[in-house]
C-alpha cells in the first residue's frame, strides 16, 4: 500500500493493491487466532470506541474480538442508554467520545454517510461498520478473503448476488470489492428490490436466477429484511423464495466448485433452503470466522504504527 488510508468509510477507499495487502495481512492474523493464546500486542495502548447507532450483534462482537486480540483497549458507547436518548447530537456525542482520547471509532448507523460526517469532525480513524444502505466495507473484505481462500485469484470469476440489492449496504460494497478484484458481478432480483438507477454500475442485471445459476462461481445471497414493514416489494416471501431463493433444486445446478455465501443473519426458507445452508460449500460460518481476522487487519492498518513491522510484532506474542 503506497498511500495509507486514514479511515475506512467505503470499500472504494481501497484499490486492488490495498485490498490485497489487507487480505495478505488477514492470513497472518488468522494464524494468530489459532494460537493457544490468540493475542498479539500490536495495538497495545490504543483505544477504540464502538459507536453503534443501529442494532448489531455479529459485527460488533467481531470487531470487539479483533480489537482484543490486538491488545487494544475498547470502550462501548451504548446508544440505547446514553446521552443520545437525551437528545445529544451526533456531532456532540462524537466530540465527547474523542475528548476521552481515542485512536479509532467504529461506527454503525442507519443513515448513509454517517461515518463520512464523523470523519470530518474527529481526528481519530473512522471505520465504517455499516451505514444505512450505503457501505459495509469490512463485510466486503471478509467476503473477498473467504472467496480467495477457496477460489484463489478472483479474476474472471462470476459472482451472482441475489435478493434485496436496493436496501443492501453489503451489495454496494461487494459489487465494488469483487469487481475491483477482477470478478464479474451479476445482480439478480425483481426491479422492486434493485436500486432505481444502475447507470455506471459495473454489473450485469437479470431478474432470472435460473439463467445464471449454472455459470456462478459464487452465489451470494442477501438477507430479505423481514422487518421492513409498511412497504411491499414482493407479494409474499413464499413467492420470493420460489423465484429468487436458493432452493435445493437450484443449488444442485451450481457448478461443483461454486461457493454459497450470505452475510447473515439468514432467513432459512426465504433466501435459502435450510438444507442448502448446511451444505459444505455454504460458507456462512467461515465468513464469520474470517470476519475477526479481517477486522484485525483493518484495525492494524489504520491504527498500527508501521506496516513493515508486521511479522516482527506478530512474533513477539
Amino acid at each position: 500500500m503506497t498511500d495509507p488510508v486514514r479511515n475506512l468509510l467505503s470499500i472504494a477507499d481501497l484499490d486492488r493493491t490495498a485490498i490485497e495487502h489487507i487480505l495478505d495481512l488477514t492470513a497472518l492474523f488468522a494464524e494468530v487466532g489459532e494460537r493457544t493464546i490468540p493475542k498479539v500486542p500490536a495495538l497495545r495502548g490504543k483505544t477504540i470506541a464502538w459507536l453503534f447507532y443501529e442494532d448489531s450483534t455479529r459485527t460488533r462482537l467481531s470487531f470487539e474480538t479483533a480489537a482484543k486480540r490486538l491488545s487494544a483497549d475498547t470502550m462501548n458507547f451504548s446508544v440505547s442508554t446514553s446521552s443520545v436518548k437525551k437528545g445529544e447530537s451526533l456531532r456532540d456525542t462524537v466530540n465527547t467520545i474523542e475528548a476521552m482520547g481515542i485512536d479509532g471509532v467504529v461506527v454503525r448507523h442507519s443513515d448513509a454517510g454517517a461515518p463520512n460526517r464523523i470523519a470530518r469532525w474527529v481526528d481519530a480513524a473512522v471505520i465504517n461498520a455499516g451505514d444505512g444502505w450505503n457501505q459495509h466495507p469490512t463485510q466486503a473484505l471478509l467476503d473477498l478473503y473467504t472467496a480467495r481462500t477457496h477460489l484463489g485469484d478472483l479474476d474472471g470469476r462470476h459472482v451472482v448476488i441475489v435478493g434485496d440489492i436496493k436496501h443492501s449496504r453489503v451489495a454496494r460494497s461487494n459489487v465494488l470489492g469483487f469487481t475491483e478484484m477482477g470478478a464479474n458481478v451479476t445482480l439478480v432480483s425483481p426491479r422492486t428490490l434493485l436500486p432505481p438507477d444502475l447507470d455506471g454500475w459495473p454489473v450485469e442485471v437479470t431478474h432470472d436466477l435460473d439463467s445464471v445459476i449454472e455459470s456462478a462461481d459464487i452465489c451470494y445471497l442477501l438477507r430479505m429484511q423481514l422487518e421492513r414493514q409498511g412497504q411491499t416489494y414482493v407479494p409474499t416471501l413464499r413467492e420470493f423464495h420460489t423465484e429468487w431463493g436458493l432452493d435445493v433444486n437450484r443449488a444442485r445446478r451450481l457448478p461443483e466448485h461454486a461457493l454459497i455465501m450470505h452475510p447473515g443473519p439468514m432467513n432459512r426458507g426465504v433466501e435459502i433452503d435450510g438444507a442448502v445452508a448446511d451444505w459444505p460449500n455454504a460458507l456462512m460460518v467461515e465468513q464469520v470466522a474470517n470476519g475477526v481476522a479481517v477486522r484485525m487487519a483493518v484495525l492494524y492498518v489504520l491504527l498500527g504504527s508501521g506496516l513493515d513491522l508486521v511479522d516482527e510484532r506478530l512474533a513477539v506474542a
Partner: protein, 433 residues
C-alpha cells in the same frame, strides 16, 4: 424636510430599456428626477453600476416566529437588502403557521422597520396540514396576495380545486389584484422518505431518493386544475426538465400559470450530495445537468417568469447531522443575483426582469416594487456592479445561519447600494440597518 440623494454615473435598466442617467430620489420614497448631470443633497457613486428597480424574491423563509436562532425577519431582511432585494415574500411555514390575519399582522409588524419590504404569504390550509381551508379572506384583507402550503404540496386534489375557486373569488378584497395560489409541487406518496434526487447518485450512495415524477405529477395535476377553474396558479421552485416542458405547454395553451426557479436549481447538481454534506440537501432536491439545461432554457424563453431564492436558513446544529437527519434548505438571498449574473447566459436586462419586475407583478407588488425608474416612481432601487468579482463566504453574510452551498465559489456581480423608499439601506456593500 425631505433630503435628496443622487445616484451618479450609472446605467439605468428597467422594463423600458437601458440608458446612462443619474437618478435623484427623495426621503419621501419617490424618484424625483432621471437624467444627465443631476445634483442633490447627497451623492452615491453608481459609476460602472446598473441602477435597477429593487429585486423581488417570491420565496424566502425568515423563520420568525419559531426559529429565531436560524433567522429573524430583521436579519433576513438585512441579507435581502445586501442582495439587492427591496421586497421579499415570507413563506408561511413558521411555528406557528401563518394561517390567520393575526399571524400575518405579526410578521408584517416585525418587518416594518427592516432593511427590506417584508410581505408574507398565507397558508392555503389550516396549519399547512392539507385538511381544511385557512381563512383566506381575512388574510387577503390583511394584505396577503399569495397563498401556499410551501414545504409541502396540497395533496388532496379536491381541496386544491376548492382553494383555487375560493381564492379567485376574493379579488374584491384586494383592490382588484389577483389572488395567486402558489404550489410546492410534490406528490408525497412518491417522495416520502427521500432525501435527494432519485437517480444514479442516490442509487450508488444508498440515500433514499425522490423521483422527478413526484414533482411532475403535481405540476401536471395543477395544470389540469388551472384549466378546470381558470384560477391563477404559480409553480414554486420548478426543478425538473419535465416540469418546465409542461409549464411551457400550459402557457402556450393560454392557462393562467406562472413559475419560478431557484438559483440552486440551475447552479448545482445531485452530484454534490456525494459528500454526504447536508448543506446540499434541499427540497425539491438538486437534480441533473439535463434539468439545469431545461431550467436555463425556461428562464431564457419566458416559461419560467422569476428567479427565487427559497432562502432557507438552518443553524449549524441542524446541519451538523447525517444527510437523512438534517432538514432541507440552503441560504440564497446574498448570492442570488451574483449566481444568476454569473451562470445564466442572458443579458443583464433579462436577469433583472426575472429578479425584479416579473416577480413584483406576480406578487402584486408593482409598481411600488419593480416599477420603472422614472420621475414619480417609487424609490426602491438596487445599484449593482455586474463585473465585481468576489468569493462567497458565509462568515461575511448577514444571515444568522451559514448554510450556503457556495462557500468559496467565485462569482461576478455585487450590490453596491440598495435604496428602500428613498433611504439608503446598503451603501458600498455595507448594511445601514
Amino acid at each position: 424636510m425631505s433630503t435628496t440623494i443622487v445616484l451618479k454615473g450609472g446605467t439605468v435598466i428597467d422594463q423600458n430599456g437601458s440608458r446612462h442617467a443619474d437618478v435623484v430620489v427623495n426621503s419621501g420614497g419617490l424618484i424625483v428626477d432621471v437624467g444627465p448631470d443631476l445634483t442633490a443633497d447627497e451623492a452615491l457613486d453608481a459609476s460602472g453600476c446598473v441602477v435597477s428597480p429593487g429585486l423581488v424574491d417570491l420565496h424566502v423563509h425568515l423563520r420568525e416566529p419559531g426559529r429565531e436562532e436560524a433567522e429573524t425577519v430583521e436579519s433576513g431582511a438585512r441579507g435581502a437588502a445586501l442582495g439587492g432585494f427591496t421586497a421579499i415574500l415570507a413563506m408561511p411555514n413558521t411555528t406557528p403557521v401563518i394561517d390567520t390575519a393575526a399571524m400575518v399582522n405579526e410578521v408584517i409588524a416585525l418587518g416594518r422597520s427592516t432593511a427590506c419590504d417584508v410581505r408574507t404569504a398565507g397558508a392555503i390550509t389550516v396549519g399547512r396540514k392539507g385538511n381544511a381551508l385557512a381563512p383566506m379572506a381575512e388574510m387577503v384583507k390583511a394584505g396577503v396576495r399569495i397563498f401556499t402550503d410551501d414545504g409541502t404540496g396540497v395533496q388532496n386534489v379536491s381541496l386544491m380545486r376548492t382553494a383555487l375557486e375560493y381564492a379567485s373569488s376574493l379579488s374584491h378584497l384586494s383592490g382588484g389584484r389577483p389572488i395567486v395560489l402558489a404550489q410546492h409541487c410534490e406528490v408525497s406518496a412518491l417522495s416520502d422518505g427521500g432525501h435527494m434526487n432519485e437517480g444514479r447518485w442516490s442509487s450508488s450512495l444508498g440515500i433514499p431518493g425522490q423521483p422527478a415524477e413526484a414533482e411532475e405529477l403535481m405540476v401536471m395535476r395543477d395544470i389540469a386544475l388551472s384549466r378546470l377553474t381558470s384560477a391563477r396558479i404559480h409553480f414554486q421552485h420548478l426543478s425538473t426538465a419535465g416540469s418546465v416542458a409542461m409549464v411551457r405547454a400550459a402557457k402556450q395553451a393560454g392557462l393562467a400559470v406562472t413559475a419560478e426557479a431557484t438559483t440552486h436549481h440551475f447552479t448545482l447538481t445531485e452530484e454534490s450530495c456525494a459528500s454526504f454534506d447536508p448543506v446540499f440537501k434541499v427540497h425539491p432536491p438538486l437534480r441533473t445537468d439535463e434539468d439545469i439545461a431545461a431550467i436555463k432554457a425556461g428562464l431564457a424563453d419566458g416559461t419560467i417568469d422569476a428567479i427565487a431564492t427559497d432562502h432557507a436558513p438552518h443553524t449549524a446544529e441542524d446541519k451538523d447531522r447525517t444527510f437523512a437527519d438534517a432538514p432541507p434548505g440552503m441560504l440564497g438571498l446574498e448570492t442570488a443575483f451574483a449566481l444568476a449574473n454569473t451562470e445564466l447566459d442572458l443579458p443583464i436586462e433579462e436577469v433583472l426582469a426575472l429578479m425584479s419586475w416579473n416577480p413584483a407583478a406576480i406578487a402584486g407588488l408593482d409598481p411600488a416594487h419593480g416599477g420603472p425608474i422614472v420621475a414619480g416612481g417609487s424609490a426602491n432601487i438596487a445599484v449593482i456592479d455586474p463585473d465585481f468579482a468576489w468569493t462567497v463566504s458565509a462568515s461575511e453574510m448577514a444571515s444568522r445561519s451559514a448554510n450556503t452551498p457556495y462557500e468559496g465559489r467565485r462569482v461576478r456581480g455585487k450590490v453596491r447600494h440598495t435604496l428602500l423608499r428613498g433611504l439608503p439601506v446598503v451603501v458600498d456593500g455595507e448594511p445601514r440597518r
